[in-house]
């Protein structure tokens, strides 16, 4: 949460001191604060979905643990212990399958777990991720998407992908420009080009594409772990 709070705190005050950047940075600040709430919503949804299987698993495995010294013995309880062991295996597999589907449905980098934009999207995403075999044909805003519901960003240049990454992390134009060591005007030009290529109307929609996992940001070449360009 502290990372998200930091984003919100960093973006909002700056908006008041930045002339024509005010509305843009305010929007990003608002996005950051919405993210905090949505991360919480996603967490709650995940806890709710995982709670049943995890409770069952803990009961079965706990029972095995408590009876571990008797497992090799034969007796009246043998069948019921066998059922417990088999059920523990089944529940474990069920959880593994669930986690697999979560991974399939949410392609954003792990450190962007805070980056789901809206509660509605989060719940919709979760429902889709939790439903096996679901593959939306179109994005939430009717944008053209591939068979997996993802936006094609192959037309973006490496620099545009870098800019998209930073925008999706909630950075303002000034902050992003400073990170890439370019002017904020240039940064905005890249951002405008991205929006044009992806067919989005505003920054919020752009961020939404990324944080909902619809636009997949593969790590560009020449990009180090800290996210700085090395060219």
């Amino acid at each position: 949460m502290s990372h998200i709070d930091g984003l919100a705190a960093r973006s909002l005050p700056q908006a008041a001191n930045d002339g024509e950047q005010v509305s843009d940075d305010f929007e990003i600040g608002r996005i950051a604060s919405v993210r905090a709430r949505i991360a919480s919503e996603v967490g709650a949804a995940m806890v709710h979905e995982l709670n049943g299987p995890l409770t069952a698993l803990l009961l079965y495995v706990g029972d095995i643990y408590e009876n571990r010294n008797r497992m090799a013995e034969t007796g009246a309880d043998r069948d019921s212990l066998k059922r417990v062991v088999e059920s523990a295996f089944d529940e474990t597999r069920r959880i593994c399958a669930l986690v697999h589907r979560m991974g399939d449905g949410f392609k954003a980098p792990i450190d962007q777990e805070t980056s789901i934009l809206a509660a509605r999207d989060a719940i919709a995403w979760w429902s889709k991720a939790a439903a096996p075999g679901h593959a939306p044909a179109q994005g939430a805003d009717g944008l053209a998407a591939d068979g997996c519901g993802r936006i094609d960003i192959s037309r973006l240049t490496r620099r545009e992908r870098e800019v998209l990454q930073l925008v999706s992390e909630g950075l303002s134009s000034k902050e992003g420009a400073k990170k890439l060591r370019i002017s904020h005007r240039t940064f905005e030009c890249y951002r405008s080009a991205i929006m044009r290529k992806l067919g989005t109307k505003n920054t919020a929609e752009l961020v939404r594409l990324v944080v909902t996992g619809m636009a997949i940001l593969s790590k560009p070449q020449g990009f180090d772990h800290a996210g700085h360009s090395v060219d």
Binding site: A44, G52, P53, T55, L58, Y60, G62, E66, S87, E91
Partner: protein
């Protein structure tokens, strides 16, 4: 949505056994509780909807009722209130959300207690926690 039928264990409740009603929409939780308690002199009946559990309470006498908070249809809190309006059976509330649920900072287990639950346990819980909760609840029935 069709109401899931009340599943009654094959063996009729014995006199000395603890009779437990588990109301939880997640069938795997009830099945696990049933399996763990089967070797501890307990007869467990499962209801996958609150309304089915309430009907079971009207037909059979139970020593303890375990109720999940988040269920489709009639939720656990309202179920506890309904049962408490006509019965003093010990109630154990179960929920995965201990302190808060996402955006609204609400302790649902605290609400469950205020609504009439005698004990709350947070999921996931271990067999020993379950057994202790059952034993603690049974003690409520004994004369002081």
């Amino acid at each position: 949505m069709a109401i899931a039928p009340v599943h009654i264990t094959a063996e009729p409740p014995g006199v000395a056994k603890t009779k437990i009603l588990v109301i939880d929409d997640d069938a795997c939780v009830g099945a696990a509780i049933q399996a763990v308690l089967a070797r501890r002199r307990c007869d467990t009946i499962l209801a996958h909807r609150a309304i089915a559990g309430i009907h079971a309470l009207e037909q059979y006498a139970f020593d303890v009722v375990m109720i999940d908070i988040f269920m489709p249809g009639l939720n656990g809190i309202d179920t506890i209130r309904h049962i408490r309006s006509s019965s003093q059976v010990p109630i154990i509330a179960m929920s995965g959300f201990r302190l808060r649920s996402s955006s609204d900072a609400v302790d649902y287990l605290e609400i469950a207690t205020r609504s009439g639950a005698d004990l709350c346990i947070q999921k996931p819980f271990q067999p020993m926690e379950l057994v202790e909760a059952i034993e603690w609840s049974r003690a409520l029935l004994r004369p002081h």
